[in-house]
Subunit: 143 residues, 2 copies
């Protein structure tokens, strides 16, 4: 994706096209599951003088528009990704925090139907699988 594509995305969501936003969108696309600090670093490779606030604001605007998704497993800082709306989920490593994508096993939005929703109107089901990543499994065997 080039900057032109990012601009398209922004305009399509009725968002103003600003340099920080384009750079943030690029950074999130290139660094899936990156935390805010990583994104800030990546953005500053293109725009050395962006403020961290601009990055926070951009991420919030992009999330609200549904262009990026914010994920935050327990014990982790906020992370972002651009794969949205395809009903995929995440596996998180308990020991190193690594995150991987997992496509939904059962077709489309299977878990969206709770047995008893207590009167809540549910619009999204978020699934996080907890476990151990291959690297940490290997590391544990060595000890």
């Amino acid at each position: 994706m080039g900057n032109a594509d990012y601009e398209q995305l922004l305009r399509g969501a009725s968002l103003r096209v600003t340099r920080p936003r384009v750079a943030v969108l690029g950074a999130v696309t290139e660094h899936a599951h990156a935390d805010t600090e990583t994104i800030l670093g990546a953005v500053r490779e293109r725009l050395p003088d962006v403020s961290h606030q601009a990055v926070y604001d951009s991420l919030a605007a992009l999330s609200a528009a549904g262009i990026v998704r914010r994920i935050q497993p327990s014990g982790s800082v906020a992370r972002y990704e651009t794969r949205v709306g395809d009903n995929h989920h995440h596996v998180v490593c308990r020991s190193c925090g690594r995150i991987s994508d997992v496509d939904c096993a059962v077709g489309h939005a299977p878990c969206l139907t709770a047995s008893d929703d207590n009167g809540f109107v549910v619009d999204e089901a978020e699934i996080i699988y907890w476990g151990t990543c291959p690297q940490c499994q290997a590391a544990q065997l060595e000890n």
Copy 2:
């Protein structure tokens, strides 16, 4: 549940029985989904002089032992509950943050099997349903 039961639980998990831990366990049992501050307040009704650190330590010990579960939806502080090991999940209200329990629709641990786990060894599937609670639905209709 009385204190004797809590002590049993602690001993059963090979944890030392201390007054802060018993009080914390009681507070979490009585206030499902409470955040740390609420728990601290509840604990201090019994033990006025506990330090916040003791509460943090107790919660960490109880979580590690599997007696309480820590949940932390995006944008929320850490919350705790004592219903563990029964494969139930949560609905979180996007506007007020209220949390309700949801029993798993499909029997036991259905979503535990990811289609492609990327080599991760998965031991738990955590599901969070996002939506709007009855109260907030009513409030929105009024506006």
